[in-house]
């Protein structure tokens, strides 16, 4: 009964909440618009936006020296999570069956395990930095902690269900993933989408001024 609910109505509800919430957040940001810039353009805003969206993946030298651990842990977590989410065989099967109807090649099992190790190490270290560093601790609010803990729980329960031997473990994982999907649009987790817009805006503004940002 509960299993059917998690596998059925709750899944569709959470997916709908996720899609509508994300679209609503993005549309509201786009609709907010930007102030008209009456100055004469000294460079291309579009080119500046595109350059900044990608160039920010490579950190500045000051970041690589002063925040090396955050940088390494950050990449470990995000790359690991990306592989787990979109290239693990169970997830590809699930997405193909429930959403897209299309599947794509999965990474080998050992790559999946290494990605999981990276993602866990990165997430734990980043969260510890958040709570132990006095500056990031002051900057963090409840949303940051809930987001981190939810991601951790979803990843953990997924890995605990890795043997695929018990339906209950799969359902716990799915239930937490659904809670995550519902929470996602209303939290800072939205940075997974909005980072493109924020980088693009900065890049476009600077690009128009002829500044390489």
């Amino acid at each position: 009964m509960i299993g059917e609910f998690i596998d059925g109505p709750l899944w569709y509800f959470s997916l709908t909440a996720f899609v509508i919430g994300v679209v609503w957040r993005i549309v509201s940001i786009v609709r907010a618009g930007v102030r008209p810039d009456l100055s004469i353009a000294r460079g291309s805003a579009g080119r500046g936006a595109m350059r900044t969206i990608f160039s920010r993946f490579v950190p500045e030298r000051t970041v690589t020296t002063r925040s090396r651990l955050q940088l390494i842990a950050g990449y470990m977590f995000h790359v690991g999570l990306l592989i787990l989410l979109f290239f693990a065989q169970p997830h590809i099967d699930f997405i193909a069956e429930r959403i897209t109807g299309l599947s794509w090649p999965a990474v080998p099992h050992w790559v999946f395990i290494v990605a999981a190790e990276f993602a866990f190490a990165g997430l734990i270290l980043l969260w510890l930095h958040r709570v132990l560093n006095p500056v990031t601790r002051l900057l963090s609010d409840m949303d940051d902690h809930i987001g981190s803990i939810l991601v951790f729980l979803v990843m953990l329960t997924g890995c605990l269900a890795l043997a695929q031997s018990h339906e209950a473990l799969r359902l716990i994982h799915l239930f937490l993933a659904e809670v995550f999907l519902i929470y996602f649009p209303f939290s800072k987790l939205m940075h997974a989408f909005t980072f493109v817009m924020s980088r693009g805006y900065t890049g476009a503004t600077m690009g128009r001024k002829g500044v390489n940002a």
Binding site: I124, L128, L132, N133, I149, L160, A161, A163, H166, L171
Partner: protein, 364 residues
């Protein structure tokens, strides 16, 4: 140092949210477990007579060489039946589990008795109005990373080792099967992170854990926790240094034997695997017992002991009482700062920090 009210409320809310989520999960999934267990219980149990049992017993107990000839390639493919496996099983069930259980139980009981007799070791001079910077943010991160990974592995490992006798009466066989499956997957997955944490801990703390003059005196005088006499100590005392080296050596044994167990594809035989299992379990039980003592001192056993790892700063009087050789040097170098300055640096109060005072680990 007290936490500000907003932080306390935030952490209480966070804990409450976590507990609620756990409670919801337990409530939601306990019927699933029950249902699976009921269906398993309803299956008729049938005792099947194995007519080949006598043949296999003869094969196992024969005096001929254990390994024969075969065209099948691979590890021990020439072994028809592994007689030593039974010896390992008997050791695991008959000695390792009961004795290991008694050891862990005895440590907990001894600590309880010790606490009732000795109580919480106070800071004799009372809490000072000054603090010494003790650990950077990175050092605390490394410590808590190791702590979180170790605790996860210890809990899942103990469940795998002692779960059958302890948890089956509570959750039933099907319920325990689910817990054990989850613990096995989690334990195997988090295991390599322990090795990563071990490497990080080693490189971060090794310099201060090399034995020095005065460490033996500390040991001979029982570390000061037994008796009333003051015992001089460096940044880390003899007990902490010994725990560090135990962690390095026994932890390496646990980690490497764990990798052998997780990756049977490495081409090692069954006897080696059994040996790896025994070494892994004994090493892990030893480290668990040591860490229980470490947690005891850090939490209820000694006032001010955990403060350095929590905040990065320790009380000046605590430092003088427990690590006076280091404290004297730090005071001479002008590292002592007031509680108000520490609070200010952490953004907990608005008073001005003294010139030259730096926040522990900020930006590192």
């Amino acid at each position: 140092m007290s936490m500000p009210a907003t932080d306390k409320t935030a952490s209480q809310r966070l804990s409450f949210f976590g507990l609620c989520l756990l409670a919801v999960c337990l409530l939601l999934f306990s019927p699933l477990v029950d249902a699976e267990e009921k269906s398993a219980r309803e299956l008729p149990s049938a005792k099947v007579f194995n007519p080949a049992a006598e043949l296999w017993r003869d094969v196992r107990q024969r005096e001929a060489p254990a390994s024969g000839k075969t065209q099948v390639g691979g590890v021990e493919t020439g072994v028809l039946i592994n007689a030593t496996g039974d010896r390992w099983r008997q050791f695991r069930m008959g000695e390792l589990i009961p004795i290991g259980g008694y050891v862990i139980g005895a440590i907990i009981v001894l600590l309880l008795i010790f606490y009732m007799v000795r109580g919480r070791v106070p800071i004799e001079g009372g809490a000072s109005d000054q603090k010494l910077p003790r650990y950077t943010t990175y050092e605390r991160m490394v410590h808590w990373f190791m702590a979180s990974v170790f605790l996860f592995l210890a809990i899942t490992g103990l469940i795998l080792l002692f779960g059958r006798p302890l948890l089956i009466p509570l959750f039933g066989k099907e319920g325990f099967s689910i817990i054990a499956s989850a613990c096995k997957e989690g334990h195997n997955l988090m295991g390599p992170l322990f090795l990563l944490a071990l490497v990080m801990v080693f490189f971060q703390f090794v310099r201060r854990n090399i034995y020095q003059k005065g460490d033996l005196t500390w040991l001979l005088r029982g570390g000061g926790i037994i008796g009333e006499k003051h015992v001089p100590s460096n940044f880390f005392n003899m007990g902490e240094k010994t725990m560090f080296w135990l962690l390095v050596f026994v932890g390496s044994l646990i980690g490497i034997s764990g990798l052998v167990l997780v990756f049977p594809v490495l081409g090692l035989g069954r006897e080696f695997m059994a040996l790896a299992h025994v070494g892994h379990a004994i090493g892990a039980l030893l480290m668990t017992a040591v860490i229980i003592g470490h947690i005891y001192i850090g939490t209820v056993g000694m006032e001010g002991a955990i403060e350095g790892m929590k905040t990065g700063y320790c009380d000046l009087n605590w430092a003088k009482e427990h690590h006076d050789l280091w404290a004297t040097k730090a005071i001479d170098q002008g590292e002592a700062i007031s509680n108000e300055a520490v609070a200010s640096l952490k953004g907990e109060k608005t008073s001005t920090a003294p010139p030259g005072a730096t926040i522990q680990g900020a930006g590192k």
